[in-house]
């Protein structure tokens, strides 16, 4: 695992002095689905790793109200990776790679509130890891798309995948190669376009839902 403190010679890539708006997108997926690979392929900085300390008592409790428990209860530490994309002189987008399994979800609730949306990165060898993440995102009302990281394994059509994941027909499903910068960039673009569609629908409730199927 990369150490957060050993920077390469020359130091960090700095943000513009006028940068004033941080944005978040969360990439979720099971172990080995390619979350860090995707972050790495589009990040302008080497993906960094940081961690959060919290108590088991913190599950489901909003914000920092629970951390008093740290004095009397055992703390747990959870690590997550992140990368950065400077969008323009003012906006900077942070990508967070988060484990999708149930036992990590308390981390999401606390740390990733206010995220623009999420990408569920699916590895067809471990579909079960995606089910829980999709359920939770739907429950939370967090907009998301699903991206199939294609490792060149047994071929699945997107229709087969959609069925296997029991995915709502309106949720975009795209194929990507997380190692490829353009491909990863297109995943993020697909998410933001989906958000824009959702926003347009929200503001004009009379219009019918627009089914989406992104091109591979």
């Amino acid at each position: 695992m990369d150490s957060a403190t050993s920077e390469p010679p020359g130091g960090r890539a700095e943000l513009a002095a006028g940068a004033d708006n941080g944005l978040k997108i969360v990439i979720v997926g099971g172990f080995g689905a390619g979350k860090t690979t995707l972050v790495r392929s589009v990040s302008e900085i080497r993906p960094l790793n940081t961690e959060e300390t919290m108590t088991q008592a913190g599950r489901g409790v909003d914000e920092l109200a629970d951390l008093d428990g740290v004095r009397g209860k055992t703390s747990t530490t959870v690590a997550f990776d992140f990368g950065r994309i400077t969008l323009d002189a003012r906006n900077v987008l942070y990508l967070f790679g988060a484990p999708g399994q149930e036992r990590f979800w308390f981390l999401w609730d606390r740390l990733f509130s206010g995220t623009l949306g999420a990408v569920v990165l699916v590895d067809t060898r471990r579909l079960a890891d995606s089910w829980y993440a999709i359920d939770r995102l739907e429950q939370h009302g967090t907009p998301f798309i699903v991206a199939h990281n294609d490792f060149g394994g047994p071929p699945h059509t997107l229709e087969q995948l959609r069925e296997a994941l029991d995915l709502d027909p309106e949720v975009p499903l795209v194929r990507c190669d997380a190692r490829d910068r353009e491909s990863s960039k297109n995943v993020l673009i697909a998410l933001v376009e989906h958000l824009r569609t959702l926003y347009a629908r929200q503001t004009s409730p009379s219009s019918p839902p627009v089914p989406q199927e992104a091109a591979p």
């Binding site: 403190t5 004033d20 941080g22 914000e63 400077t86 995220t115 959702l198």
Partner: protein, 119 residues
């Protein structure tokens, strides 16, 4: 996943904050709030404070500060709130994170799309 010497006893990290686990100021630092130093490091100041001021000569996100210091985000939030109360840093909070269940503003989405397409 563990880092020797740290993950084995996370509680002792709170010695850095004088045992406090929540920020002093009535502010909430988002993971992506951008921190900007308003003053130079002063002699005798805690080394973490000095490191933050050096790091934040240019805007730096809370999560980057945490990664650079090798400290958990919750600890860094306490350190940042101390510096904010002292007027040594400023914070630029995200404009789109007001509510977890509200869709982001279309203007922001457009700016994000343009930025991504220009990559």
């Amino acid at each position: 996943m563990s880092r020797p010497g740290r993950d084995d006893a996370p509680d002792r990290l709170y010695t850095l904050t004088g045992g406090r686990s929540r920020p002093a100021a009535d502010v909430s630092f988002d993971l992506v709030s951008l921190v900007v130093a308003e003053s130079d490091p002063a002699p005798g100041m805690p080394s973490e404070h000095a490191a933050i001021l050096r790091m934040c000569a240019r805007p730096t996100a809370v999560v980057e500060v945490a990664a650079e210091l090798g400290l958990p985000v919750s600890i860094v939030r306490v350190l940042l709130s101390d510096l904010l109360v002292q007027g040594r840093i400023g914070a630029r909070h995200p404009r789109s994170a007001a509510s977890p269940h509200r869709l982001p503003d279309p203007d922001i989405l457009e700016q994000v799309l343009v930025g991504l397409r220009n990559l």
